[in-house]
């Protein structure tokens, strides 16, 4: 059967089980879009900027628990994807990005809309390819998906020259990918698992530290059962929120720079940390020399480079989080349950005391809305069941602190790279993956402007998303640092010159509501969430509210600035 490169591409994308792609056409990919129009079973969502396509594919992957796909043209289309790819790379999100390229004969000649995107994205992809032979196109695509979703997942870019897309060749379904140089190790070493359980039996003050790897490997159930069986309190990284039920009494809240007092104190005083699917990022550890000084550390990760990178580890376990946690659970089930939690009561009492004395707090007065109050009300009204995406900065931290996630894949944020402008396209991607779910972007007034054009995508594709802007007319997180560390010199952070977000929503064909009265926050949220279609809710909040607790950069995580 003879097929064109474009037909092969679409056939292979469908073969990988993908039903939705996010894209933007151009000269180099015109043939692919021409072919796509004949495939109504492969939904193409037309974004308004290529960065939006990649963030949407990222969120689609997380909400749908599958591989996200973006398709863009050569040159600027390709370079516009770089931020989104880098974000997915840091957060280990499985994704395949297809970029158009000038015809192979022109590569290297500085042709119109030519850029060496394989060279540009080499450090921020898990792997990438330039396809030079149409006969290798199908196998390359299959390999790309295999690499994206296996091992520690990540984005893979496939660069497609126009003549490869236009070539007509005899198609044969490629065999399953088998690479001699890439064989991720899923199965943990049994001796290490036994060692971890032995360490747990010795521990008096254990803590589980869950990260994005728990969610990616679908290990939440195993992790939750371990915690409950041995009464081990659980904290999480930003990427790990939802890995353990946020409403469970053993949940400590998030760890790190803006972690809860009890989470940071628990880690600081623990004698055993079971870290699963985390990479001990600097926002979590604070000063590494002062991190968890009394703790033995068990670290589970499929990526050996994550182990011993920032923090010395006493019991490394290389393997799939789910396989490792289930292995640990099996061994625990053979023990007398009481031996797994000897002397646990004093530890849990201590943690409870930290919770009572120093909870997350703010005071909502009668006049000015507190941003935390908006998120807390959003949590109550949505019963914690919405998919929440965020932008980056204070909005992201308040969402992480005050919305409690009971299930994985419900908090979608640009964790490692911290991309402003992530939340709106991510909300669109999540809605495409889960049309029956309520999807809310918790945004700041600064970051929402970074990809505001995607409002049109939401409207056009009828992907109804709700945008809650915590509008303080500042780049709030930077302003907060300026307040604490730069004598309140608010250089370049004033955002008073901003569009009228209500009118802006209307201009795009969305609905807009504004609220500046604490008494009307609940009413506005209900109205916004119940109004059909895409809605912006513009909450005028306290301008100089800060995120607490805060660990100043370079400090130990137990040395927090408190309200």
């Amino acid at each position: 059967m003879k097929l064109t490169g474009a037909q092969i591409l679409i056939k292979m994308i469908k073969f990988e089980g993908v039903d939705t792609i996010f894209g933007y056409p151009g000269g180099a990919t015109i043939d692919i879009h021409d072919e796509l129009a004949r495939h109504p079973d492969l939904r193409h969502i037309l974004v308004r900027h290529e960065q939006g396509a990649v963030h949407a594919a990222d969120a689609y992957s997380r909400a749908h628990d599958s591989v996200g796909v973006a398709l863009v043209t050569s040159g600027p289309g390709a370079t516009n994807t770089v931020t989104g790819i880098a974000s997915a790379h840091t957060d280990s999100i499985p994704m395949v990005v297809f970029t158009g390229q000038v015809p192979t004969a022109l590569i290297g000649n500085d042709a119109f809309q030519e850029v060496d995107i394989v060279g540009i994205t080499r450090p921020c992809t898990k792997h990438n390819y330039l396809v030079k032979d149409p006969n290798k196109l199908a196998a390359t695509i299959r390999e790309a998906f295999h690499i994206a979703r296996s091992g520690r997942p990540g984005p893979v870019l496939v660069d497609l020259p126009k003549d490869i897309i236009q070539a007509e060749i005899e198609f044969e379904m490629p065999e399953e990918t088998a690479l001699r140089s890439y064989k991720p190790n899923y199965n943990p070493n049994k001796k290490q698992l036994a060692k971890a359980v032995a360490m747990l039996k010795e521990a008096k003050r254990p803590v589980i530290f869950a990260g994005g790897g728990v969610i990616l490997s679908r290990a939440s159930d195993a992790l939750t059962r371990i915690a409950k069986m041995a009464d081990i309190p659980v904290t999480g990284s930003l990427m790990g929120l939802g890995a353990f039920p946020g409403s469970h009494p053993l949940w400590l809240g998030m760890l790190g720079m803006h972690g809860t007092f009890r989470a940071n104190m628990s880690i600081g005083n623990s004698d055993l940390i079971i870290a699963a699917g985390v990479r001990f990022d600097d926002r979590v550890t604070g000063n590494v020399k002062k991190f968890a000084p009394h703790a033995q550390i068990v670290q589970i990760d499929i990526d050996p480079t994550s182990i011993h990178k920032n923090i010395p580890v006493h019991c490394p376990i290389v393997g799939d989080c789910k396989a490792a946690l289930e292995g640990i659970l099996d061994l625990m089930e053979k023990e007398d349950p009481e031996t797994l939690k000897i002397d646990r009561a004093p530890w849990l009492d201590q943690i409870d005391q930290w919770k009572q004395t120093t909870p997350l707090k703010y005071e909502q007065g009668p006049k000015i809305i507190k941003p935390q109050y908006v998120v807390e009300k959003l949590y109550e009204i949505t019963k914690g069941e919405a998919i929440i995406t965020t932008e980056v900065g204070q909005n992201q931290m308040w969402a992480a602190q005050f919305y409690h996630f009971d299930k994985p894949n419900h908090f979608i944020t640009s964790g490692g790279l911290g991309v402003m402008g992530f939340g709106l396209p991510a909300a669109i991607g999540a809605k495409a993956a889960c049309p029956d779910k309520l999807v809310v972007d918790v945004a700041g007034d600064g970051s929402i402007q970074m990809n505001i054009q995607e409002l049109m995508t939401a409207i056009e594709s009828r992907l109804d998303v709700k945008i809650v802007i915590l509008n303080n007319r500042y780049l709030g997180m930077v302003r907060q640092w300026q307040e604490f560390f730069y004598d309140k010199a608010y250089a370049s952070t004033n955002m008073e010159n901003a569009p009228d977000f209500v009118l802006l929503a209307q201009a795009y064909g969305a609905k807009g509501f504004r609220c500046d009265d604490p008494a009307k926050v609940e009413e506005t949220l209900k109205l916004g969430l119940e109004t059909p279609g895409t809605v912006i809710m513009d909450f005028r909040v306290e301008r100089e509210e800060s995120v607490y607790p805060m660990v100043p950069a370079g400090g130990a995580i137990t040395e927090m600035l408190l309200v």
Binding site: V118, G119, R122, P123, K126, H127, L130, I147, L179, R180, S181, Y182, D303, P304, T305, H308, K309
Partner: protein, 163 residues
């Protein structure tokens, strides 16, 4: 922390861009490359990269893991942990005034090198050996007046059974 010299032997898929991935990894993560040499192996689809780096024990562990993480890297062997044979090849052009020729020939003989080109005022000497031999040889020739040197990075193989 104490730094040491490490010699890594890396087998990679012989594909375009592989060297760039490795070089990019080192520059992006702030690792040093002291020398690097690349050539195909008996298997035409596989190349061997021999790399010398100076770093501490924690960094070499990261380097090895990060290299292994690259999709096109098949194996990473730390030869420093084994018995191995190491060679560099150098071409050294020295001033060879008549009154110095005998002395140069003696040194060349002692080091089992070869004169591969003779001119009116210079020799080109071919030398192969490990990095210490290279350094010793160059330091002895220096007083004669070295015009220029072209040298390869180290290449190395583990001895039988790698012990």
């Amino acid at each position: 922390m104490e730094t040491n010299r490490y010699l890594l032997s890396i087998l990679v898929d012989d594909e375009p861009g592989v060297l760039s991935r490795i070089a990019g990894l080192f520059s992006g993560r702030g690792f040093n490359i002291d020398s690097l040499s690349v050539a195909t192996t008996a298997d035409p689809h596989v190349s061997r990269i021999t790399m010398v780096t100076n770093c501490d024990a924690q960094v070499i562990e990261q380097i090895k893991k990060q290299l292994h993480k690259l999709i096109n890297v098949i194996t990473v062997t730390d030869l420093t942990e084994k018995k191995y044979v190491e060679r560099q090849l150098a071409l050294i052009k020295v001033h060879a005034k008549p009154e110095k020729r005998a002395e140069i020939l003696r040194i060349v003989d002692i080091f089992r090198c070869k004169i591969v080109d003779v001119g009116h005022s210079h020799y080109i000497i071919e030398m192969s050996g490990n990095s210490e031999k290279h350094a010793a040889f160059v330091s002895l020739l220096k007083p004669m007046g070295i015009v220029e040197i072209a040298a390869t990075g180290s290449i190395a193989l583990a001895r039988e059974n790698g012990k």
